[in-house]
Amino acid sequence: MSVKGVKNFVPDDVRVLVQGITGKQGSFHTEQMLKYGTNIVAGVTPGKGGQEVHGVPVYDTVKEAVEATGANTSIIFVPARFAYDAVLEAIYAGLNPIVVITEGIPANDTVKFLRIAKANGVRIIGPNCPGFIVPGLTKVGIMPNQYFKPGNVTIISRSGTLTYEVAWNVLKAGFGHRLVVGVGGDYVIGTNFLEFFDEILKYDEDTEAVVVIGEIGGDDEERLAKYIVETGFDKPVIGYVAGRTAPPGKKMGHAGAIISGSSGTADAKIKSLKEAGVHIAYRPSDIPEILKRVIK
């Protein structure tokens, strides 16, 4: 089966650069991605140029790496305090998309690099995300390899582990994945649900159904619901929202997962999605059954 790239997002010819490749995380996931078949062409760690990590050449700067290898996509593992610099280095070297795995980046840094990315027409995924996978084509992320197979179900999620759980359930039910992406658990993220739908999914002919995994906090789910209503998005969408039992005012693991006052509750999100015609799953295990119903 030959799998194509995803328009406005993943090029057919993905050539991955790993920023922070010599670190523990960077090195481990480089190996995992290579095992999956990802075309990792270069790594960068300042001061470690000339080394190799799992056979991947390491450069001191992103510019050199891009010039030497034609890398077009970046995945970033550098520690939070260096992330701002690393993302901008990638932007100005022309990499696009840029996946920021790093957790713990201050929101002040994130809003700045997102704004500059936008001014340069560059897409950012994350921060604090598991990345993305297009089974059969590439994995630019940290998800475990074994739960993903090519197919036509796209999963967009604010979560990490829960996404793998759902992906696995989808697989066990006999479906495969077109694209699985974790948008990130941080308070401010590069590409949110609405943007994914409007800029990417509506153009992707290979997506037959979309599973959206939301959680408490913010209003990304509500805004997506509004978008679906307003644009008449015409592929079946299944929604699951985690945190129905979460108390207000407490940060539930993710920086963005917090109910403030009366806003950001799971119930409000579920209500909005339901009214927009989204098929609601109340348990992750409901998803395969719904998929069987909505995919003819």
Binding site: W168, G253, H254, A255, R283
Partner: protein
């Protein structure tokens, strides 16, 4: 991290945002009025939860007796199961109007947003529901606050250029950027007779992710109100939120752990806590988290839900067995759901130690709920 009112006000004061003169009475110390303060005074309990005004934790006092009485009664006033850790006592500031001002890092806008209203003293959600009452102004992160932003907000609130306000707005914005605040809210913002402005309250959220570049610990006395478990969570890198039920829930990943709470509730159970041990959870982290759960929550049953990707099931199994042995736990009250990388080895280790092990999340949830009935 939320700051207590007086901590936020200290930050304001240091950043040039005017606040009333005040002093602090920590719980357990004597209630006396330092030199230089005169009646009337405002006595305010310091809680992390909202709603203290309605609960009676803010009192204006005019005499020494009223003052002592207010301090005593507020220290004994519980809001959402917590007593105030401190009382803030401020000079009463006569003012002609109360307004609303906040600056936040906005998730949908991916930048800064200033919210302002001529109506202060009510919640911002309430202001947002009324037409034309709340001004929302986006500030681009690549420019920061500019004079024209100051003019726009001043015009909206005052119908013209109020220099005292424009200065306060600039100072507040500087704090948001330089101290990495996710929210800096002043509600009410007092307008004095001479037109100058002053922050009568503070609601500040500091970005936890910014700790590596600031030492804001001098504003953080409130961490004394965190439980031992919350502090350990911060230290060892797991998220811990105590809840009110009887089933201790631990999972790996925030989304999965929330989904586990929801599933427990779906089958009629009541979660006693949320513990997310995160990815690649080490034995030490899992052990400490279980320790915290047992010590602070004493749940009737425990549900550990691990979907292993990068995490390895055998590591998790060994961590659980080790903690259980050390503390001599009743494993009949523990339900483990373990699946993913190295699941067979993990299952074998746990079964040998006498655990019930599930691969399916729903089955496991049903089982743990049954244990508590």
């Amino acid at each position: 991290m939320f700051l207590l009112e007086y901590e936020g006000k200290q930050l304001f004061r240091d950043g040039g945002v005017t606040v009333p003169n005040s002093f602090i009475i920590p719980r357990g110390s004597e209630a006396s009025i330092p030199e230089g303060f005169s009646f009337p005074l405002v006595v305010k309990g310091q809680y992390l939860a909202g709603g203290r005004g309605k609960a009676g934790a803010v009192k204006i006092v005019k005499t020494e007796d009223e003052f002592r009485e207010a301090v005593e009664s507020i220290f004994n006033l519980k809001i959402r199961s917590s007593y105030p850790s401190h009382i803030l006592v401020e000079e009463f500031v006569p003012h002609s109007k109360e307004m609303y001002l906040s600056i936040l890092v906005s998730k949908p806008d991916k930048g800064y947003v200033i919210l302002a209203s001529k109506e202060g003293g009510v919640e911002v959600e309430e202001l947002a529901r009324k037409e034309g009452v709340l001004m929302k102004l986006y500030v681009d992160p690549i420019t920061g606050l500019l004079p024209f932003h100051q003019r726009l907000v001043s015009k909206f609130l005052f119908g013209g250029m109020n220099k005292s306000f424009m200065k306060l707005l600039a100072s507040l914005f500087k704090l948001v950027v330089e101290k990495d605040l996710l929210l800096a809210e002043i509600n009410p913002l007092a307008v004095l007779e001479d037109g100058s402005v002053m922050a009568l309250d503070s609601k500040v959220i500091v970005d936890d992710n910014s700790e590596f570049r600031h030492d804001l610990t001098k504003y953080y006395e409130y961490t004394s109100v965190l439980t031992e478990g919350e502090k350990l969570g911060k230290k060892y890198g797991f998220s811990y939120v105590p809840l009110e039920g009887d089933i201790g829930v631990m999972g790996n990943g925030a989304g999965l752990t929330m989904a586990t709470l929801d599933l427990v509730a779906y089958y009629g159970g009541k979660p006693a806590c949320f513990i997310d041990v995160g990815g690649g959870a080490s034995e030490e982290r899992i052990g400490t988290a279980l320790d915290v759960m047992l010590r602070e929550i004493r749940p009737k049953a425990i549900f550990v839900n691990i979907f292993a990707g990068i995490t390895r099931c055998d590591d998790v199994a060994r961590a659980i067995v080790s903690v259980v042995k050390k503390r001599g736990l009743d494993i009949s009250k523990m339900v483990i759901r373990l699946t993913g990388t190295n699941e067979d080895i993990g299952e074998a280790i746990l079964k040998e130690a006498g655990f019930k092990v599930h691969k399916d999340m729903d089955e496991a949830a049903k089982e743990v709920v049954k244990l508590c009935q």
